[in-house]
Amino acid sequence: MNDSEQHILETLKIDTAEKLFSDIPNDLKVSLTKIPNGITEMELLSEAVRIARKNKVGNINFLGNGIYDRFIPSSVDSILGRSEFLTAYTPYQPEMSQGMLQALFEYQSLICELTEMDFTNSSMYDGATALGEAMRMAYRINGNKKVLLPENILKSHLSVLQNYGSGINPVFEFYKLDATSGEIDIQDLKSKITEDNCCIIVYNPNCYGIIESKIDEINSFKGNSILIYYYDPVSLGVLKSPGELGADIAVSDGQGLGISQNFGGPTLGLFSFRKEYVRKSPGRIIGKTMDKDGKDAYVMTLQTREQHIRRDKATSNICTNQALLSIASSVYLAIVGSNGLKNIALSNFSKAKLLQKKLEKISGVDPYIFKGIFFSDLVVSIKTNNNLEEELLKNGIMGGKTTKELLYISPAKNIKTFFFSVTEKKTEDELDLLAKTLEVVK
């Protein structure tokens, strides 16, 4: 008990702090037993480093499917480390938090530029939950229940969608992918659209990693369905945007925009939509206004959609979001710029193609089972009876997840297919090493 605490107790006219808990019945009192007593910072840091070293780093990373080992400019972490951003709360007092509010307004604007969508909210938790919220928003717009999904959707996304469907009871129907191109089977999708359709979910690149070339055709037959477009933000450095291709709601995970892999979290849920649906949208939104003297000012706005005002009638229960990570993505986009993002995206295409070239020479390995164009993730068929993932790991390579493990429906039943993912960081030497190792261990 220090002097300050003594002073508090005297002011409260009590002799021990425990007296402040006299309202808690004794039979409810507990004490922690299994948690050890505290340690010094010196001990903590050495223990943390000791545990950290149990993780194996230094393997060559060909994992992807949503999280990517991308290049992060040093400036991103420098800004994120500023405690004025890091240790702030939600900007409930706008006059005292203009810096954060302006940064979030700029984030919304940057993602609108990237996607060519009208509006973007100030973030969702991650890609899968952004998708779940998009489905709920589509239901609020047209009241329909039928949700069309690609049959090769990530199992994890499907599970999150099922859970986000609670209360609206969506009916999921799966459309096919073309077995030759690996792209959406547009005719099959078209045939499944009925008058009571809620939304169509498309991925581009799709869950095989392939770029869709016919998404714009969906507009000619989608009717009242809401087109929900799941994109890769880095690919938009060069590809047509969701906005240009007719998306009503565009969502993604922003991890690739300057955020470490973090074992999958925290990342950043990107959420954009058409202007006319703004009042049906979930999440916090920052707006520009003026102060009493006519000076530009930024505030949280349209809060009457949100849980703290509207309670059980809110568009979503989301409160805490990923504000800090949205600043990370803003700094990233500002640093790399339009030309930088274009070249980073092209580098991915180029490396995926180069990897195909390296693998085509290996017998029993076919990187061309799909004719489509790959971006970062790549589906490869390999004749093998070995556990490739384990064998590669013995050789310092991470990758080779089976499509069966990750996707709702795998490409074809009679072949084994595996994922290898590239990013701008992969070197030709690393691609050669993967090819050489596969030849030996398959």
């Binding site: 808690i24 903590l44 810096g99 990237l114 809110a314």
Partner: protein
Amino acid sequence: MTYHQANYDEKLLNEYRSGNDFKFQNFDEKSLPENLLRKNLRLPSIAEYDVIRHYTRLSQMNYCVDLGIYPLGSCTMKFNPKFADKIASLTEFNSIHPNQNEKTIQGTLQIMYELQENLKEISGMERVSLQPLAGAQGEYTALLIIRKYLENSGMHDRDEIIIPDSAHGTNPASATMAGFSVIEIPSDSNGGIDIDALKAAIGPKTAAFMITNPNTLGVFEPKIKEIASLIHSSGALLYYDGANFNAIVGVTNPGKMGFDLVHFNLHKTFATPHGGGGPGAGPIAVSKKLMDFIPSPFVDRKGETYFFNYNVSNSIGKISSFNGSFINLLRAWAYMRYHGKDGMYRNTLRAVMNANYISAKLKGEYESVSGDLKKHEVVVSSENRGKRALDIAKYLINNGVHSPTIYFPLIVHEALMIEPTEDVSVDDLDRYCQLMIYALHSENSYLESLPNALPITRANEVKAAKDMILRW
């Protein structure tokens, strides 16, 4: 002290003209079919030095907990320890891909396992899921578990969630989102549960009762065991909103009180930085009968080897892309390891001492709401002096301290909800209370002219909603 926040009249990113200077190898876009290519991309063209200066200036126009007291009620803005920043920045932790082979992530899994064990102990529950990404998502996850449990027990028709009118807004929002209907019950004059109203609300359709204890007035609900037995004997479940956990760590726990499910806000109780609105982390813990319903997988241990256990027979499935907000989990682990059971208990005592100290200092000035004994937060009203809570808040921020949560809980007029946490000195508490009292004695016209020491005067929120300028 004369306070002025930095004010740069900082322009927007896209108004800079310094030119992009990012270096990267050039690739030819002709390698791709023309019909796939976008026509233009209009990101700002700004030099790296200007990006840094821009964001540094913006950062200086922002209050944060490293600058001082940030006593938002129910938000638990305690000091964010710097050792956690250091640990979170270790490459061995932040460069890990979520699909890596378990052999390569034994350190990560150990942290998660130990955190699960700690949260079990702190909550008195049987199993923990670290997957939910924020408190509201923890609530939603728990409600999905409640639904699945009831369905599996043949109680499909239980579709009502009872919630007190003093509850956090996320409670009713999560409940309707999960497909339940919300039955709101009034609080008694002390902000506690009105037992008669609760009895009247309980029926054959009741699925669960969602409450926080201590409640949003900072008062411990003494009849909690009676409430638990009322709920359980009706066949329903009892849910603990963990937003107010900072009042009870090491003193009592939801398991002991009879709760079936709990969510934690690691960014509140366990000091992970809130980043201007997020990220958070909202793990949940459940009692024995709900163990097999949590999101899959959880982390388990066999000897010295840690692994993901997918054997959750009635699992609701996944609630987020991967395995939770790992970096926040890691920071919370570091907080717990550093403070330990002795330190966490001391923190609870000090947080409650500080709240009661504020209550005592404001007594006779502000109208006190509920009894004298507070837990982690105190709610007062400025209505007795004809002052608006909003005006008091602007006075405070104009003096370089953050305001309390205002206009919440909804059941108190002109409410100011103050949660100092354990990390404030007596000198700072004294100064804060003094400012609050000065504000109360100021002329309304003066208060309405504030703030004037910040980059902007009062922002016109009505105009923002009307104009809907949501981007440049």
